[in-house]
């Protein structure tokens, strides 16, 4: 396990003889990766050329390639006001919260599902927790509205009076929304994510548990010292991947669920929604492209750093 990658000695074979051997050893594997690699080249890398749009004053009559270069002017709107601080803060804080809570909730669900003896019910629960993920964000927005509407909402009309509390104007009070959005996000994602961890748990070699049981370990001890450590690689990779997208957010959650309510913007505005709103009428593809580049570059740097740290701890868990 401690052995580091021995790749370099294969990478650039010194003699033709060795290259020949190398092809014979890995030729099939290379053929196997070809479809995926070609697909990514065409579907993902080729369009990356379009990043130039972020630095262009797009004029369709001239064509995109011939449009004038304008340096970083398209990026300006992202940093002009103190909105830049607010949207960046919101995006990062929400994402960090989500990354942590999603993993905790999903792992809990997965571990508990795996503990259940009644397989039929376990499967039933598993299907049910997936449901929220299947409902479109706009509809979730409707459903949340049916809870929180001032005039017809279940909260204001039924629950708050029952508790002897007065009406709350949910869609203008910023203080509730960090919690509401977090709850909705966990509600929506946990069941979906738990599938991954469940697959990881199911994949653990049962011999470990059998040995532990013979040694008299309790279930809880087994979970703590077998299950969790063995799914750590999966948790790590999921976290790393999420960090890469830390400047991106679930647009539907932040735009549709608060119903685009203006007074809530200080706590609901994230980079994606800010860009969307700014450019709705301007329709400037240069500016939206600039926002995408900014998000990607920051995510990239963060992931390089995190990956470096992970590699220091355990190189097998690192992304690359």
């Amino acid at each position: 396990m401690e052995q580091t990658v021995d790749a370099p000695k294969y990478a650039f074979p010194k003699s033709t003889l060795r290259r020949f051997r190398w092809i014979r050893r890995y030729g099939v594997l290379i053929l196997m990766i070809l479809p995926g690699v070609i697909y990514l080249l065409i579907n993902n890398y080729l369009p990356m050329l379009g990043i130039i749009i972020a630095f262009k004053d797009v004029n369709y009559a001239k064509g995109i390639l011939q449009s004038d270069w304008i340096g970083f002017k398209n990026f300006e709107f992202l940093f002009r006001t103190n909105d830049a601080y607010i949207i960046t803060r919101n995006t990062i804080l929400y994402n960090i919260t989500f990354i942590v809570l999603h993993v905790i909730a999903a792992v809990t669900l997965a571990v508990l599902l795996n503990e259940l003896k009644n397989r039929f019910l376990a499967r039933f629960y598993q299907s049910v927790v997936l449901l929220p993920y299947l409902i479109s964000a706009v509809i979730i927005g409707y459903l949340v509205f049916s809870l929180l509407s001032v005039e017809t909402g279940i909260m204001n009309k039924k629950i708050l009076p029952m508790l002897g509390l007065g009406e709350i104007s949910w869609y203008t009070e910023t203080k509730y929304w960090p919690y509401i959005l977090t709850m909705v996000s966990v509600w929506k994602t946990a069941g979906h994510l738990c599938v991954i961890f469940l697959a990881a748990i199911v994949g653990i070699d049962k011999e470990y548990f059998e040995a532990a049981t013979i040694d008299g370990a309790s279930r809880w001890q087994q979970i703590r010292s077998i299950t969790i450590p063995l799914i750590t690689p999966v948790i790590t990779i999921m976290t790393l991947l999420a960090i890469g997208r830390i400047f991106h957010s679930d647009f539907g959650l932040f735009y549709q669920v608060p119903l685009d309510s203006g007074p809530l913007l200080p706590v609901t505005n994230v980079i994606d929604t800010y860009v969307y709103r700014s450019l709705l009428t301007l329709g400037d593809i240069g500016m939206s492209s600039a926002a995408g580049v900014y998000q990607s570059v920051v995510g990239f740097l963060l992931v390089l750093i995190s990956n470096y740290i992970v590699r220091k701890i355990n190189s097998d868990n690192a992304l690359f």
Partner: protein, 295 residues
Amino acid sequence: MERTNSRTQLVIHLFFVVVSAVCLLPFFLLVTSSITDESEIIRNGYTLFPKHISFAAYEYLLNDASAILRAYGNTFVATVIGTSVSLLIITMLAYPLSRRDFPWRKSLSFFVFFTMLFNGGLVPTYFVYTQVFDLKNTLLALIVPYLLLNGFYVLLARTFFANTIPMEIIESAYIDGAGEFRIFWRIILPLSLPILATVGLFQLINYWNDWFNSLIFITDRKLFNLQYLLNKILLDIQFLSTSDLGGNQAEMIAALPKEGVRMAMAVIGVVPILIAYPFFQRFFIQGLTVGAVKG
């Protein structure tokens, strides 16, 4: 294998009953609001127990049954083909990346990962799909863009292969004279049913819920997919009520289906996945135990 005692079982069940309620209630709300009388929704909001039940929304959908059936068909074809092909490509790419002895492992992983961070945006993607490859208004446009989506599933599958399949198995098979592809097909895949089911399920959901490709690449109404029909309405309502479009705005809004219809469409969009789900659950058992292979 020993599992927990029955009291702990009961507690876990109670926990899941609560969790299920939290997940199911909104869904029931969705279903009941699709059969609630339209004016009642607007007067009183959604309710689990409507006073006046009305199937008008579903009747409205039946009006255009042929369009909906066709959209179902398009979605179905794209989902089945897309999910199978993408499973194949994903696992074939992920497996070599999981092999610790594969020379380009780290840099190729990076190559895959990079696609998760950077994309050129919609315009160049559209250009590639419509001008370089003529996929506009073809079913392929509903399939190809999501085949790998981005590197996420590849890296996920890679991690699973690397962590659940001991290198010794591969080595011993190799020494026994099995070719790489045979090892992959006969040993790796059967050992990895849970992750195949996971990725398959996720891709199934991605394809089933996709409407964006339909929005961007399809203008021929014969090729629209199911979720597009719903999302088009939802987005139009949002757009029309937040845009300033002058004297004829009232007609534009009046042309859109009512709330009950939107709910009904959401319901008919979810149900097929719920039916397909148990099928995937069957694979959430350890394929062959690793021990058996080793032995």
